[in-house]
Each structure stands twice: as C-alpha cells, then as structure tokens.
C-alpha cells in the first residue's frame, strides 16, 4: 500500500465511521431511553480504548501497521453487522467495548503510518494535506447520511458502513511490494 492509497483508505474508513457516529443516538433511542445511557455507551468506548493503547502501541512495531489496519477494517465490518440486531441496551454496551478496542487500533495505526511516512521537514504540509482529504470525506459522509436516514432506516446505515469497512479491509490486504508500514 502506497501513501496515496493510504489516504484513500483513511478517507473511506473516516467516512464510514463518521457516518454512523452522529446517528448512533437514534439507535440508542430505540433500544434505551436516556441520555445517561448514551453517555455510558460513549464512556465505555473511550475507556476501553484507553486501556488498549499500550498494547497496541507495542504490537504495531512488531507486526506492522498494515496488519493492524486490516484487523481494524475487518473487525469494524463484522462488528457493525451486529448493531442492527441489538435490541437491549447491554448489547449496545458490549458492542461499544469492542468498538473501543478497534478504535484504539485505528487511531494508533493512523499516527504510526504518518510518523513513518512523512519526512520531518515537510511534515506540516503533508499532515495538513492528509487532514484536508480525510475531513472532506467525513463531512460528506455525515451530511449524506442525514439524507439517507430520511429514506432508509437507521439499521441500513450500519449495513452500508459495514460494507465500506469490508471494502477498505479488502484493499489494505492487497499485496504491495514496497509498503509494509516502513518508510518507502
């Protein structure tokens, strides 16, 4: 995977994850019914991520970023398939914990790839460019999904996002000579 493809990849998964996040409250509205439950769901997510970072950090240097990105993509793709089936608030809590783990994987790998790729002198410009594209993708996703929910159900959003993750996992796994998470 070259750097360009990495940006496409980040854009895609950025889209898929921002797509589901704001609309998540609607799902909780269906299965639970209070803002405190909403708070807990997010809290669990953040907490699990915090616990996982140290391990993931070490793992990244051992197995490589690409491998972790693959785990993240496929993991999210599968996890999201369980959201439409959640009908109790504790289902959502469990899913949030799993998402917390994957979230930590993604955040860490995103940074390690960047760190290994960009050259110190032009780091500002490179990372700026990286953020432009991923932010645009995220914005487009949230706005677009706002319309989607009007037409489809919330559940379909999870299926669509899952498919995007699966596709991203598919491209990460594509054989590529140069890129293994180490500088090109």
């Amino acid at each position: 995977m070259n750097y360009k493809r990495f940006i496409v990849y980040q854009g895609a998964i950025g889209m898929a994850s921002t797509m589901i996040f704001p609309f998540y409250i609607l799902l909780i509205n269906n299965v639970g019914n209070s803002y405190s439950q909403f708070g807990w769901a997010y809290g669990l997510f953040a907490l699990t991520a915090a616990i996982c970072y140290p391990f993931i950090g070490k793992l990244a240097d051992k197995v490589g970023d690409k491998w972790l990105l693959g785990v993240y993509s496929w993991g999210m793709a599968l996890t999201l398939l369980f959201f439409p089936l959640a009908n109790e608030i504790w289902h959502v809590y469990i899913l949030q914990v799993i998402m917390g783990v994957f979230g930590a994987v993604q955040r860490n790998s995103e940074k390690t790839v960047l760190a290994r790729h960009v050259i110190k002198e032009t780091a500002g410009k490179e990372i700026g460019k990286y953020h432009i594209w991923t932010s645009i993708a995220a914005a487009a996703a949230v706005i677009g999904t706002g319309y989607l929910v009007d037409f489809f159900t919330i559940s379909s959003i999870f299926y669509i996002a899952s498919a995007v993750f699966a596709w991203s996992g598919f491209i990460v796994m594509k054989k590529e000579k140069q890129f293994s998470g180490l500088p090109e």
């Binding site: 509205n29 019914n33 209070s34 803002y35 496929w74 793709a77 599968l78 398939l81 369980f82 439409p84 089936l85 009908n87 559940s155 299926y159 899952s162 498919a163 699966a166 996992g169 598919f170 796994m173 594509k174």
Partner: protein, 475 residues
C-alpha cells in the same frame, strides 16, 4: 488469496445478519405522536385508489386480520393502532377529486390534509368552514373525531359534510350523508375509524374573508358574560382565549382574541398569500422555559400576553387564521413526551368550574401543565358521540409528562380527577387523547356510548376495524 477468503466469509456473515434482522423486525412497530403506546403491528398497507383499499379490506377479511385506520396519527390513545393488526395508512390517498368554486364545494380523498385543501381553494377566494386550529390533520382523521376549531358561526364539522363515501367491513362502498344512510353517517362522524374507511368526502366551503384581530385581557370570572355579549355581534367570526398556568396568576388571568370581519372587504382584493411557519425559534424557546419551572411558566405567560397585545388591530385572512403554527410544539425528548387533554364545560358554569379545577390542581406539584387554550363549541348533538351537549367552552390542556409507567400512573390520576370535576359541572371530555379516563367516565360524558358500540357491531359484526381505543372502552 487471503483477502478473497476474508471477503467470502464477510459476505456470508453479512447475509446472516440481514436474515436475522429482517426476521426480527418482521412486524413494524407503530406508535402515535404521543409516544406512549408503541405497538407491534403485522404490516403497514396503503393504497391510492378505492379499489386498492377495497382489496386490502378483502384480504384482511380472508386472512382474519384486524385493520386499524391511520391518518396523520396525531390522536394519542392508540386510535390508529392494534397489536398484530394491519395498519391502513390513508396518507397516500390524498387527491383533490373535484372543486366547484361556484357551488363552493370540494371533493377530496380522505388522506388529504386541511393544508392541501387550503392551497387548492385559497386562490379562488374560498375557505374551510370548520377545521382544527391547525391544518396538519387529514380530512378522514378529523371527521372521525368530529373536530372543532376557532370558528364560532358554522356549527359542527358534521354540518359541513355534504356527503361522503364509506368502505364498510364487507368491502362495499356506501354513500353517506345527513339524508342517506344517516344512522351510519352519524356514527362514522366521530366514529374513530370503527365503522369503516372514509374514502372521499364532499365538503361545503365558505368565502375567504379579511378579519381584524381584537385582543383583550380579563379575569376568568368575567369571561362567560364577556363572551355572551361578544357573540351577539355577528361580525365576530372566530374566537380564542388563554388562561394563565403561571403560579402567579394560576387560572385567573386570561386574554381573548376575537376575529371580526372588517367592513371594507375590498381590502382583500386578491387572496392573501397563505402564510408559512416563520420564526418558530421564539415560541419554542419560551415553551421550553415553561417546561422547566415556575419562573419559566411566568415568562411564557408574559410573552403570550405580549404577543396577543402586539397583534391587536392586525388584519388577517380567514384561511391564514385556520393554519396556526404547530411546528414549535414539536418536542423530542428521550424520556418525556407532551400530551393533550380537552374538556368541555357549559358556558354558564365556567367560573365555578375553574374554581374547582384550581382546587384540584393545587396540590399536584409535579403535574407539568404548560398551556390552556379555550375555544367555543356550539351545541350539536348530531353525531352519536357528541361532546357538545350544550353551548360550551372547550379547554385544551398541554401537559408534559414522562413515558415511564410511574409517570403514566401519576398523570392518569390527576387527569381522572380533572375529568370528575368536569363531569360535575355538566361537561364532557374529548376522546382522541390518551386512554386515561375510565369507562364509567366515558359513559357519563357520552350518554350514547353504549349505542355507539352497538352500532359498531351492527355495521362491523366481525370487528374487522379495530384499535386500542375500542379495545379499552367497548361495552
């Protein structure tokens, strides 16, 4: 290679998830706007032609399914829901079929809203005779509750129906009017979807006109006399009042708004443009404050009075009066909801009634009452389920409550007490709202309750048309 394997596995799991999901959600869950009664139904069906709807009824007959008819679902007591039944959604059945500006009549399919009709007839300088204060409701849903509004001159909604077509439980279409099949007509108007499906309706219209608003403040003990004097003036066509819910002037201060036809109608040389909802942020904000606490209620009452004063002397067309804002009332909260109640009390008993109501509510500190609007309904006993047993004032109460069972119980107790007070003063209450009242209270408020339910079974012996209201109150 590995990635193709992953992809295959993913597709399999995807399919499995989808399969379970569609299984799980086979029956749509339906709830009305009050959000107090989510009900799992078998299916939602709709048709845009009489034959489609006929087919839905015939299929239900063959399968032995119950049908609950639904318009905009603003009724709040499960009137459009029945567990495991078919929800017949009338919204797509909303064409304007015929409009005769000369004869001042319009024929519409029953899923059309008052707003749809207004848009069609406003350019021809015509207006509805009777409708709710807002125009968001379907014609079928409004006829089925025998709705009333701000108009004080055109009698009941039932009087504005020239004729209508009703699809009965056997799938036959009948012609209904005051003269034709009149027994069924009087049961189906205010019939809560229990007699059959109202298909299309021919309504009598009136001229659009320019009104001048006159607003005044007064005390509740002056109101009956004030109104009786006012109504003698033929020019006054519409009327509305509000009574304070702020603790500082609770059920004492009032303001009224009268809409009088202005002398020079030529001012309305061309139809006034229909107004769209504007600036909902301001009323929404103050209503939000009223939900919070007593100070908020005082602030809300003050802005309402200021608003009433500010429109004094303004001119507005009849069509525009009959499309009041409603969007600012939309409320979404994970735990709470807003429900309506409406009580009717004879004009002469108003003062004593309010005194008793104040006493009943004195100790109910957690009862979150947000607004009371008062209107007038003329005696009209044509419909079997008539609420206007004599000339009455109607009080619409907006109440904020929780959706958990404890809140439902608490609110229910207060409401049943209020209904007892209302009945003691020779009053009645409105039926489209949540099923808080007891069966006995319904029988007392509506002396022909038993007859109504007997007619239901006469015209629909297999009880094909069902809803939670019938389930709860049938006798």
């Amino acid at each position: 290679m590995k990635r193709y394997f992953m992809l295959m596995a993913y597709v399999l799991i995807f399919a499995a998830s989808l399969h379970y999901f569609t299984d799980q959600s086979a029956g749509p869950t339906v709830e009305d706007r009050s959000r107090l009664l989510p009900v799992k139904m078998k299916a939602v069906k709709a048709g845009d032609s009489p034959s489609d709807i006929q087919q839905i009824v015939r299929d239900a007959n063959a399968a032995g399914d119950e049908i609950a008819i639904a318009g905009m679902q603003h009724s709040q007591g499960g009137h459009t829901e029945y567990p495991d039944g078919i929800l017949l959604d009338m919204k797509p059945y909303n064409e304007i079929l015929e409009f005769d500006a000369e004869k001042k009549t319009i024929t519409v399919q029953s899923g059309a809203t008052w707003g749809d009709i207004q848009e069609h007839i406003n350019p021809s300088g015509l207006a509805l005779k009777v409708s709710q204060s807002q125009n968001i409701f379907t014609v079928g849903g409004s006829i089925s509750v025998n709705a009333h509004g701000l108009d004080i001159r055109n009698h009941g909604l039932i009087d504005t129906i020239e004729s209508m077509r009703l699809l009965d439980a056997t799938g036959t279409i009948l012609e209904l009017s005051a003269d034709q099949n009149s027994e069924l007509f009087k049961a189906a108007v205010g019939g809560y979807g229990l007699m059959g499906v109202i298909l299309d309706v021919t309504l009598k219209l009136t001229d659009d006109a320019l009104y001048q608003i006159e607003s005044e403040q007064l005390r509740y003990d002056e109101y009956s006399d004030y109104f009786k004097e006012k109504i003698k003036n033929d020019q006054v066509k519409m009327h509305l009042a509000r009574i304070s819910i702020s603790p500082e002037s609770f059920l004492e201060e009032m303001y009224v708004m009268n809409y009088s036809e202005v002398a020079q109608q030529d001012l309305l040389t061309e139809p006034q443009k229909l107004k769209e909802e504007t600036l909902i942020a301001v009323p929404k904000f103050f209503l939000g404050l009223a939900r919070l606490n007593d100070e908020g209620k005082e602030a809300f009452w003050k802005t309402q009075k200021t608003y009433a004063e500010s429109v004094d002397g303004k001119k507005i067309s009849r069509n525009n009066v009959m499309r009041s804002d409603s969007e600012f009332m939309e409320y979404s909260h994970p735990k709470n909801t807003e429900v309506l109640q409406e009580y009717f009390v004879p004009v002469d008993n108003f003062e004593a009634y309010i005194d008793d109501l104040r006493k009943t509510l004195a100790e109910e500190e957690s009862f979150n009452l947000l607004n009371i609007t008062i209107r007038y309904v003329e005696e009209n006993e044509k419909a079997v389920l008539s609420y206007a047993k004599e000339d009455m004032f109607s009080l619409v109460l907006l109440i904020n409550q929780g959706t958990d069972s404890q809140s439902i119980e608490d609110t229910g107790r207060v409401i049943r007490n209020m209904i007892d007070v209302t009945l003691d003063h020779g009053g009645s209450y409105y039926l489209p709202y949540y099923g808080y009242p007891t069966k006995e209270q319904m029988a007392e408020a509506y002396p022909r309750t038993k007859e109504f339910f007997e007619l239901k079974r006469k015209y629909d012996p297999k009880e094909r048309f069902m809803n939670l209201f019938y389930e709860e109150y049938k006798q």
